[in-house]
């Protein structure tokens, strides 16, 4: 083995030994690589971006840059990683719960705006898949920050029973160019020329195959049936959840004159059930919690309707994926009452 090879092997193994990887090898964070990443951020190395729950490590620009280098980020990704770290540390995101829970969520980064172009953030074919450095490493950098600065070590602080593969990386762009509607970010008050990240504490995507659908009336019941089983089929009062429409599915809705708000309202109205069908023990042991059941004299006969989602606005629509294929995906949020919420940040670059 040459001295160079020995150094490389030592670097990789010593970082494993320090317990700072996600199970895959990391790029050794040399001072030169980190300084280059800090310079590309346009910010001071010592600037504090956030404290990372649950251990509240200090995410300075330099610490974020170290983790981003390890994840394999190019220096120019730093502004996106910094915005994403800032977002997950927002109180509304509840990273403490997200990182510690026995449930499975992982922060999903959704990128909007012009920065998708120069950074080559994939929003098209295979959007949730492998093969794109920006998606792979930006999502991974956020994960490494959660572990190395937040303390979310699997089996120590992070006690998820199952977790999911998005805990290696979870980052998509919105395919704004293939959407009939305003983007997720514009819908939430940002200008089209601004770049943003939106962070959702999310379970794994559930694919919805709707290949024979040609009208909204075909497509929406199919999507709704997959949304009905989020968490479990009797879970109600759920919060922010992502519906990722493929360009072909979005086109069906847009061409028929449906706005995003129309789609949200339709789905919200469809996804409601009477109390009597939500009593624990009827069609499954799960069901309405005791404090909700207590509001009704005879829950087993009660016909009052309870919605799956707290409001239509909790159903977040994004267009992403390749332009061929009538497939969409439901990305359940970890968003029960008092839990996590979708959080936006502008990317400053």
């Amino acid at each position: 083995m040459s001295p160079v090879e020995r150094d490389l092997a030592h670097a990789i193994e010593s970082l494993y030994a320090r317990g700072v990887t996600d199970g895959l090898p990391v790029v050794p964070p040399t001072r030169a690589l980190v300084e280059r990443a800090v310079a590309a951020s346009g910010r001071e190395a010592g600037e504090l971006v956030a404290l990372v729950p649950p251990n509240y490590g200090r995410a300075t620009v330099e610490k974020i840059a170290i983790n981003a280098v390890m994840a394999g980020c190019r220096p120019e990704y730093l502004p996106v990683v910094i915005a994403a770290v800032d977002a997950v540390c927002d109180e509304a995101f509840d990273l403490h719960g997200v990182s510690a829970t026995t449930n499975a969520p992982s922060p999903l980064v959704i990128v909007n705006g012009p920065i998708r172009g120069p950074l080559e953030i994939n929003s098209g074919a295979g959007v949730f898949g492998s093969g794109w450095r920006a998606n792979a490493t930006i999502g991974r950098a956020v994960r490494l920050v959660c572990v190395n600065l937040g303390g979310a070590r699997p089996g120590v602080v992070s006690m998820s029973t199952l977790a999911h593969p998005g805990r290696y990386t979870y980052c998509i762009g919105e395919h704004e160019e293939a959407s009939p509607w305003e983007s997720l970010a514009v819908e939430h008050g940002f200008a089209p020329e601004q770049s943003t990240v939106a962070l959702l504490a999310a379970d794994a995507p559930l694919g919805v195959y709707a290949q024979r659908s040609r009208t909204p009336e075909d497509l929406l019941p199919t999507l709704a049936a997959s949304m009905a089983v989020i968490s479990h089929h009797k879970m109600t009062h759920w919060g922010d959840t992502l519906v990722v429409l493929s360009p072909e599915h979005a086109k069906i809705l847009g061409a028929a004159g449906w706005k995003k708000a129309d789609v949200r309202r339709w789905l919200h109205e469809r996804l409601q059930w009477p109390v009597c069908e939500l009593v624990p023990g009827h069609n499954g042991g799960e069901g309405l919690p005791e404090h909700v059941l207590a509001k009704f004299a005879h829950p087993a006969a009660e016909r009052a309707m309870i919605p799956k989602f707290r409001s239509p606005e909790n159903i977040k629509l994004v267009v992403a994926g390749g332009t061929a294929g009538r497939f969409s995906a439901i990305v359940p949020g970890w968003t029960f009452s008092k839990g996590s919420n979708l959080v936006f940040r502008r990317v400053l670059s």
């Binding site: 150094d7 030592h10 670097a11 010593s14 970082l15 700072v20 050794p28 964070p29 040399t30 001072r31 980190v34 990372v52 649950p54 251990n55 509240y56 490590g57 200090r58 330099e62 610490k63 170290i66 983790n67 390890m70 509840d94 403490h96 719960g97 829970t101 490494l144 190395n148 600065l149 937040g150 303390g151 120590v156 602080v157 919690p289 005791e290 029960f336 009452s337 008092k338 839990g339 996590s340």
Partner: protein, 92 residues
């Protein structure tokens, strides 16, 4: 040898657990319900057993508003100021 920068933060090290008391006799014990379904059942039973098998000075019951978030500061301060031992009940 090349220098590698530290991706962690020294302040964010895991906390040590508090020393365990040898006995619960004469101690104030707080049973903290984290608001998970049926957590109260577990803590009810623990309270029963504690009263049967030990002689604590008092048993205090407290509840977090939600299991999904840390206990609010006010609640934490209330517990810290008034108790010797805390038992937190996970459930489901």
């Amino acid at each position: 040898m090349t220098e590698y920068l530290d991706p962690t933060d020294s302040v964010a090290v895991p906390r040590k657990t508090a020393p365990r008391p040898a006995s619960l006799d004469g101690k104030v014990v707080t049973l903290l319900d984290i608001s998970k379904a049926q957590g109260n059942h577990l803590l009810d039973r623990l309270e029963e057993l504690l009263r049967e098998r030990a002689t604590p000075k008092a048993i205090i019951r407290k509840k977090k508003p939600t299991f999904a978030r840390p206990a609010p500061d006010v609640l934490r301060q209330e517990i810290v100021g008034a108790t010797d031992v805390v038992v937190e009940g996970l459930a489901d």
